[in-house]
Amino acid sequence: MYWLNKIIGFFLSLKLTVVCLLLLSVLTVAGTLYQVEYGLYMAQQRFFDSWLILFFGFIPFPGAQWVLGLLFINLFANMIIRFQYGWRQSGIIMIHMGLLLLLAGGWVTRQFGQESFLSLLEGEGSNLSSSYHEWEIAAWREGGGRVRDVVAIDADYAEPGRVLPFEEFDVHLTVEDFHRHARAFRATDPDVAAQVLNATGITFLEAARPHWEPQEDMPGGIFTLQAPDGSTRRLLLFSGDREPTTFAHGGEAVTFSLRRKRYPLPMMVSLINFEKTFHPNSEIPRSFASFIQVDLQGVARDVLVEMNRPFRYQGYTFYQASYADLDHGQHMSTFAIVLNYGRIIPYVATGLTFLGLAVHFLIELFRRRRNVV
């Protein structure tokens, strides 16, 4: 009982709140400065998505996940045990309920959110979006007509020595080497080149330092491909391959590709037209807009997606992210696609906390005024 009280007392402590807020401030400052050298993604990974950090390689420091988790427990415990519920405390209660909701919303987004993109040429359509920094090893059988069954395994599993089973095609890949970011080379000796199976002619890979922004990374891996008859070949897959690599065996052909992870969309999206305008005689953009056609189970409708004006459907949100000018006046438009089930939580949390702050400080103001009078 003594220890239970001690533990509860620890989690209820206001001092813990102050310490957590101070730790979060230190992490925020460090994470901001870290971005100058290593970019936003690395800073997020190191400081804000982590549980433990080693400053200078040896000083342990709790990561934001720990601090936020502790703060959540601290807040929750105070809400249940310490808070007095009454009109005078209504502001304080609303503030802390809002903050709890905000932390919960952040967790939901982190756990269940999905971010991807879709690049379309004018006239082109797709119902698949691609991940920014997750990759997959995909395989399919050639010659299946217009519809193709693809089997894909996340590249996260591609650790040396692991076996990636493609049982549908009766082949297995054993990972020899896999690099998050690699440089690819070709051998000039045709005998060496013949030993490795790769459509682009790449014969070996070298690990390179990952980019600040992981979407710039070019992963690659070397695998031992085991055919149904037990024979093996060395297969090299590189994200920069011009075309997928096909393995033919016993009259059947299986094609492999290392590609960005694909997500199926519940609709077919086609880009009709992309328009950009600039302020006269300047390169200051005035607007970027994509006219798309969205086919929702046979019912097509035209939609305009532009800056600050996304398109939403069934939890998916399409944002105008970027564009590219291609030859012959053609454009390519890129949409950021976000699936976030907790999207509305921060909105509610913000409203609640702001209302709480306003109520609390107004009550305090009037209380002090009355006391002064």
Partner: protein, 655 residues
């Protein structure tokens, strides 16, 4: 108007300009290409042949109203002139001349500006590098720079090859001076088509008669010949199949003059001083007068516009006020007719009024007076200093508010679209909050904090005026009046609350040291400080979260740990730490005051400091001087805390 004996004219001109901080990166890349490919052909000749001392044009009211396009925005000539002079010389005027008076001289009688010291060179090493004598006052004339121009070009070319982060201050300064000198030359030649020039002193009488030039006006102007290009063409066209040896004197003279015209029009192409709007493929395109000549636009409105510009220049040269005004009005009408219904043109007179009223400078001055009188009121037993400081503050506040509203009307946007306007708004907000504090406590503290915030922040805002147009266009992603008026307004209101809490924190500590016995007054200062902190926390939180909502709407993510988001979060965290630490009794009143002052440092870091990092989605315009200012501010504030907080603690228990 100053009249000087012209010494040299430089017919070689170039067409490159980048005054904007926001486009500095593009400029750096372009500059290299530009320097590599642009020939610098400065030929010097006696200006006495071509320059005639002009008569005085006293009233430039109509001239000021001529629209100019600059960085995608239509602005009155007055604003353009002011911006140009501010960027070149750091001053919005030259000697006793208004910006538009000096600018008119540069356009219509440029030789008289050659000795005007308008080039600001901050670093003396630049003058030494150019082998020109170092001037006191850091301002140089074109004549001063003239001897070092070749060297300037060479050094600027070398500096442009370096990455911007590798450049030294001197190299940045060299690039800046070179860019300014280039724009100066561009404007120097902007109206050369409307001035007689020896290159067009036609010796062939038959040609003069054939193309119907007035025979007593030689040397002619480029424009005279352009308007008779049809007649010239009729002479030249048949020559394609005729051997040169068979050309008549008339034909040879026509060929010669058309070659000169072609060379002139090519030389002055791509000027950045664009005045003439056209609609091309449904898009609005603006051209300089030279480009309109070079591209051969011969439609009636373009010819009429060019003719109006020639008349404008001629009237200035001859000192004909009425003709000058008529030409300016006529030109303006042509532009307005072509861009019928354009919002920026419709509010141009508002902008001129805004420029003329100089509201922010007047408000700054009054805030300054109000501050000293409020300080006196704190120590005085009389009522009149209190009333006087209140009156001055209210007048200053009204001017400040009017200025802000006028900017909103002119731009058609909420009060904040760039860093400059955040200073205008935050200072305004601080003044309002000070009024509230005063209304509640009536002890001059509100007047004092209002006035000091008003004067300091408005003064600081002026440094951003030198960096370019303060009403510039907003990029597409920020082009949302709803989010600009909600997120930006609330977050800056939060800045204002926390800053004012910091200002009151200073007052608290100083008061605790000077007069610790007045605990009643100390208590009221403390409450005011806590009130401001509460306001700051509430609005910083709301602003930060609304930023998240905007990010969610625009980029699909609520929170991304971007430096600006982190800066705003730090303000919220710091305010929360102070409140919770007070509840745990870890800190007392004095530490709270010191914490509020430290909060001011955090606000400045979040507001300006994160921009210096050069990463993230919010890293817009800044200069290297800003880093030094922030560094000094932080140092001074920390020193203040280090001295006054322990001192106040020592004094208070004794009281």
């Amino acid at each position: 108007m100053n009249r000087r004996r012209p010494q040299i004219v430089c017919p070689g001109g170039t067409g490159f300009h980048d005054g904007s901080v926001a486009r500095r990166f593009i400029y750096s890349i372009c500059l290299l290409c530009f320097l590599a490919f642009t020939p610098l052909t400065f030929g010097y000749e006696s200006a006495a042949e071509v320059a005639r001392p002009p008569l005085r044009i006293g009233d430039l009211t109509e001239f000021k109203r001529i629209p100019v396009l600059h960085q995608g925005r239509k602005m009155p000539m007055q604003t353009y002139a002011r911006l140009f002079l501010l960027q070149l010389s750091g001053r919005a005027g030259y000697a006793d001349e208004s910006p538009e008076e000096w600018f008119a001289r540069l356009l219509f009688d440029p030789a008289t500006t050659l000795d005007d010291r308008i080039f600001l060179i901050n670093h003396p090493e630049v003058a030494q590098a150019l082998n020109i004598p170092v001037r006191e006052g850091r301002r140089y004339s074109f004549t001063d720079l003239h001897g070092g121009m070749g060297r300037l070009r060479e050094l600027a070319m070398r500096a442009s090859r370096l990455e911007s982060e590798d450049r030294s201050q001197v190299e940045n300064e060299l690039l800046r001076v070179f860019a300014h000198q280039t724009v100066y030359l561009d404007l120097f030649h902007a109206f050369e088509f409307a001035r007689p020039h020896p290159a067009f002193a036609l010796g062939n009488r038959e040609l003069i008669e054939t193309i119907e030039l007035p025979d007593d006006r030689s040397p002619y102007r480029f424009a005279d010949l352009f308007f008779r290009a049809g007649a010239l063409q009729r002479i030249i066209e048949p020559l394609a199949d005729k051997p040169q040896s068979a050309w008549t004197e008339l034909e040879a003279a026509a060929i010669e003059v058309s070659n000169t015209m072609y060379e002139w029009s090519q030389r002055h192409q791509e000027s950045t001083f664009v005045l003439i709007p056209l609609m091309s493929h449904g898009e609005e395109v603006w051209l300089s007068a030279w480009d309109t000549f070079a591209l051969g636009f011969r439609d009636a409105p373009s010819l009429e516009a060019l003719n109006a510009l020639v008349e404008l220049s001629e009237a200035y040269q001859q000192g004909q006020q009425v003709d000058f005004d008529m030409a300016a009005r006529h030109f303006r009408r042509l532009v307005v007719e072509r861009l019928e219904g354009d919002r920026e043109l419709a509010y141009m007179d508002w902008e001129i009024r805004f420029n003329n009223l100089n509201l922010f400078n007047r408000a700054t001055l009054l805030y300054g007076f109000a501050f000293f009188i409020a300080l006196f009121a704190l120590m005085s037993r009389f009522k009149w200093p209190y009333r006087l400081s209140a009156t001055l503050l209210i007048i200053a506040f009204l001017l400040h508010t009017t200025g802000m509203i006028m900017r909103m009307v002119i731009m058609g946007r909420p009060p904040m679209t760039n860093l400059y306007s955040t200073f205008i708004f935050v200072s305004w907000m601080c003044v309002i909050l000070g009024f509230f504090a005063e209304a509640l406590q009536k002890n001059s503290i509100g007047w004092l904090t209002s006035s000091v915030s008003g004067v300091l922040l408005l003064m600081f805002s002026r440094r951003f005026e030198m960096e370019g147009d303060t009403m510039g266009q907003v990029v597409a992603v920020l082009d949302s009046n709803f989010w600009l008026s909600t997120h930006v307004t609330t977050i800056t209101a939060g800045y204002a609350g926390c800053l004012l809490a910091g200002v009151i924190g200073h007052v608290y500590l100083v008061h605790a040291v000077i007069n610790p016995a007045r605990t009643d007054r100390l208590k009221s200062i403390y409450y005011a400080m806590m009130g401001m902190l509460g306001f700051g926390l509430t609005f910083s939180f709301l602003g930060t979260m609304l930023g998240g909502v905007w990010a969610d709407q625009s980029w699909g993510r609520f929170w991304g740990w971007d430096p600006k988001e982190n800066g705003a979060l730090l303000i919220v965290l710091w305010c929360s730490i102070l409140y919770h630490a007070r509840l745990t009794k870890w800190i007392g009143d004095v530490a709270m005051a010191a914490g509020c002052i430290f909060g001011g440092i955090i606000v400045m870091m979040a507001w300006l400091g994160v921009n210096l990092l050069g990463v993230g989605l919010h890293s817009y315009g800044f200069t290297s001087g800003l880093a030094m200012n922030l560094f000094v501010f932080t140092g001074v504030e920390l020193l203040f805390i280090a001295v006054f907080a322990p001192w106040a603690r020592k004094r208070l228990p004794a009281a």
